[in-house]
Symmetry: C2
Subunit: 191 residues, 2 copies
């Protein structure tokens, strides 16, 4: 029983995520959040220390998931670089689609994090991009890929995937999106 039970704090975090996504972090008041979970504004502070803390938790949870996924991909050795890239893209898409609200907050609201959290998260993002780029570099070195500027291509691919959080609808099941992105970037659209 208790393993399946959702704690009050978890409920507050999930509700905050939904509100931050739809109204923005600054546009969501602690009273909005209190109303949504069914308590008074002041009572929230027996569960969390501050509004900032909620945003911190959401952003670092998502950043952690992104880095965990890419580390998993980089630890595999017996596969082609194309397969590795497809795995990395699939992992990235999985993090986004499995919690679209939290990912949305992560990307659109992290600028409101106070220091030192803002700088810490920025570093995590840079580390992630470097890991992702290392796959492209590996493919260039092995002759499997032809890429003039791996930094540009890394950002181009990641931007495309991250845009998912703003799509109104998907034209395919979420689990197919990763492979579709991989095919687009690896083969291109030229016949």
């Amino acid at each position: 029983m208790s393993l399946l039970q959702i704690s009050r704090l978890d409920e507050i975090l999930e509700t905050a995520t939904n509100l931050f996504k739809s109204k923005g972090y600054v546009g969501t008041s602690m009273r909005d959040l209190a109303d949504a979970v069914g308590m008074e504004a002041g009572s929230l502070y027996s569960h969390v220390d501050s509004k900032d803390e909620l945003l911190q938790h959401i952003c670092f949870t998502i950043a952690g998931r992104f880095n965990k996924e890419i580390d998993l991909v980089l630890s595999v050795t017996n596969c082609s670089t194309s397969e590795k890239l497809e795995s990395a893209i699939n992992g990235h898409v999985k993090v986004i689609t499995e919690d679209i609200n939290a990912t949305s907050v992560f990307w659109n609201e992290w600028k409101y994090l106070p220091e030192p959290h803002h700088s810490e998260l920025s570093k995590l993002q840079v580390v992630y991009e470097h890991k992702f780029r290392s796959i492209l570099d590996e493919g260039v070195n092995s002759g499997e890929f032809k890429i003039a500027d791996t930094t540009f291509t890394t950002m181009g691919i990641l931007s495309s995937l991250n845009g998912l959080q703003k799509w109104r609808t998907y034209s395919m099941p979420p689990e197919d999106l990763g492979s579709a992105f991989a095919a687009l970037f690896i083969k291109g659209i030229k016949n």
Copy 2:
């Protein structure tokens, strides 16, 4: 002289754009804006009717530029579809890089527009995406492109370009970005 003169309203709009970009629309107060242009908060209202109006102006200006660029591309007939796609990508990138702050506000803050403006802008975005997709459809019909899902590919390409507003740095001059994106999507990275 007067043709080169920047009106007080233009100065307010440009300053508001910069503030909305860095602090967000909700996170920017009319007092922040007043300080930045060197007047008192109440005085702003002799130039604008409301805070909303500033956001409206920024968002609809950018949406107008995007649609103007794509209409220009669609009016050209004597070129291949690949060339047409590259032109569309170049036009899109041009709008972004020529006014990165305004484009950033357009994408990240338009959700705060009150109705009916929010719905109007949403329609403009859908119209733009349809126009862009028509280029891909044309390429598929002529056999020039091989695309399983043009809706997906349209969103994938546009998401990638729109991500530009969040890039910390460019690894190439802004005017080269469009062609680099076009090459990435048309040819892919496979050697």
